[in-house]
């Protein structure tokens, strides 16, 4: 038995938790560089703002003049996600942090699920001010569906239990198949062509038809919907196969030195994340692109993949990235985005790093440890390869960024006596 607890409009709810002026108002949170609406309160959804809509294209609409648009504050969202996770762990069951705002709980030993769901919601709301919904089901897919139903019923209890087969038989004919976890818009269109509209229609399909249409993944989803578990609780993330740091620039980049700066800082960040996961990389892909929406600009997209000395040393990775960029750079373009993707990842220490390392491995490990400690304490890029400028022209645009209320002492909530 699983419970899925999912925060309502998580990013917006994090903003609201510390800023009472946002309560009851339509609020959206924008993606990096203040691009698209990636979280919306229900007031904002009611005004017709769609998930992923580019904010600069719609913000002029008269009906949206009172919408408050916040830049994404991932430092805050991560800390609030941590708080929710720790609260759930405090209930004594296994918890899987599936995404920043969704957590599965092993609810096998819970006898009174209704009361448990209500207690989870109330405890999370009091401690974090973030409203959540809880769904129960014998499989993850059913728990996820139950959560959707709980969320759709705005004035309900916020808890929905689909653990009883009779209850599922009653509800499945009323739920669109597109609501099911794993059924995306393309799969939904395919199913609708065959007249499969509801979840009940979907689970009634012959297995061979499901397999032909949606492969074994579709079959797995059907089994899960029937209450046959195919997905178990995993408390560890799947081993990483690649690690990407890619960003759009705050403004178009035309100077080579600035692009080098950006790529070097992405490689630096990627190296930090590698060390955090205790991995080393054996290859690297670098890509650069111009803005394909800027029709007047000359367009250029290119990438290069290179083998590197297996390592997670910032200086080795940044150096490789800069050499790769040399091959990609063309004068005369307005670059809008670049990325560093590390490939051939392996656990640190499990393989011979390199027969002829270009840097003393022990010294490198000590230096990287010192780098991580100092940057952890004083902020990212406090210590960095000398090729990265302190304040870069390519940095993210975050025009309406809230304070880091919980992670920076200068930013904490203020209360007037």
């Amino acid at each position: 038995m699983f419970a899925l607890i999912d925060a309502n409009s998580f990013y917006c709810s994090c903003e609201r938790a510390f800023d009472p002026r946002l309560r009851g108002k339509p609020v959206v949170v924008l993606s990096n560089n203040d691009g698209c609406a990636i979280a919306r309160t229900h007031e904002a959804k009611d005004l017709g703002i769609k998930m992923g809509e580019p904010w600069h294209l719609i913000k002029g609409r008269p009906e949206l003049r009172h919408v408050i648009a916040k830049s994404s504050n991932y430092a805050l969202y991560a800390d609030m996600s941590r708080r929710i996770y720790e609260i759930l762990v405090g209930f004594g069951e296994e918890v899987e942090p599936y995404s920043i705002d969704e957590m599965f709980i092993d609810a096998t030993s819970i006898t009174d699920r209704g009361a448990f769901g209500v207690a989870l919601r109330r405890t999370v709301l009091r401690a974090t001010k973030i409203p959540c919904c809880v769904g129960f089901g014998p499989t993850k897919t059913i728990a996820k569906l139950a959560n959707r139903l709980a969320k759709a019923d705005r004035h309900g209890s916020g808890v929905c239990d689909l653990s009883r087969p009779a209850h599922r038989r009653e509800r499945y004919p009323t739920i669109d198949v597109g609501e099911v976890w794993g059924i995306g818009p393309a799969a939904e269109r395919k199913l609708q062509k065959l007249g499969v509209k509801s979840v009940a229609d979907f689970v009634a399909m012959p297995e061979s038809v499901v397999r032909d249409l949606l492969t074994v993944t579709g079959l797995r989803t059907v089994s899960e919907l029937k209450g046959i578990g195919c997905l178990s609780l995993s408390t560890q993330p799947a081993p990483k196969k690649s690690l990407a740091v890619t960003r759009s620039f705050g403004q178009a980049v035309t100077l080579r030195a600035i692009l080098e700066d950006a790529v070097c800082s992405y490689a630096t960040r990627a190296a930090e994340r590698l060390r955090d996961h205790r991995l080393i990389a054996g290859a690297m892909q670098i890509f650069v692109t111009t803005n394909q929406f800027a029709k007047k600009d000359l367009q250029y997209v290119n990438s290069i993949t290179v083998s590197i000395e297996p390592s997670n040393d910032t200086f080795i990775l940044a150096g490789a990235a800069l050499r790769a960029l040399e091959a990609l750079w063309r004068d005369g373009y307005r670059y809008s985005k670049a990325g560093v993707i590390l490939l051939d990842l392996e656990a640190q220490g499990e393989t011979y790093a390199s027969l002829l390392p270009s840097r003393d491995p022990e010294k490198s490990a000590d230096l990287m440890e010192a780098l991580d400690v100092i940057n952890g304490r004083y902020g990212r890029l406090t210590l960095r390869p000398a090729s990265i400028a302190a304040r870069a022209g390519w940095a993210m645009r975050r025009g309406n960024l809230s304070p880091s209320y919980t992670t920076r002492l200068s930013d904490i909530l203020r209360a007037r006596s």
Binding site: P20, R21, R23, R82, R83, I84, E86, I87, G90, T123, R126, A127, T128, K129, D366, L367, A370, Y405, T406, L409, I412, L413, R414, A415, R416, S417
Partner: protein
């Protein structure tokens, strides 16, 4: 570059090497990592009588039950205020220097209870 904690000496071996204890961690002492604990900065001098000064950092508990006479962080008229809690006629009331007593209901909300205080410039 390793941190020296009184253990790894180069000449004479440190007699303290098996007795190293970490620096006192105020984040632990103040329970800052608990999911319901938040730091809050005071603005204003109205609670000096309670020993709460402008600029102090309060450690507040968002999960704690209200207690009469304690100071709380409250949301009143879309503003974050520090108020004193009172219990009268089976209801909770907030006292604040500039407001008449406000009943805790609807948009008037107790956000957290103040539990500890950190002052930097003593």
């Amino acid at each position: 570059m390793r941190e020296y904690k009184g253990d790894r000496t180069t000449g004479f071996e440190s007699p303290a090497r098996d007795y190293i204890e970490p620096v006192i961690d105020l984040a632990v002492a103040l329970d800052l990592r608990r999911p319901h604990t938040y730091p809050v900065r005071v603005t204003g001098q109205a609670l000096r009588g309670r020993g709460i000064h402008d600029g102090d950092v309060l450690v507040v508990n968002a999960a704690s039950e209200p207690v009469a006479g304690r100071v709380c962080v409250a949301i009143v008229d879309a503003e974050v205020l520090l108020a004193t809690l009172h219990f009268k006629d089976a209801q909770w009331w907030l006292h604040h220097s500039e407001l008449k007593s406000r009943l805790v209901e609807g948009d008037v909300e107790i956000w957290a209870i103040v539990e500890a205080l950190v002052r930097f410039d003593v």
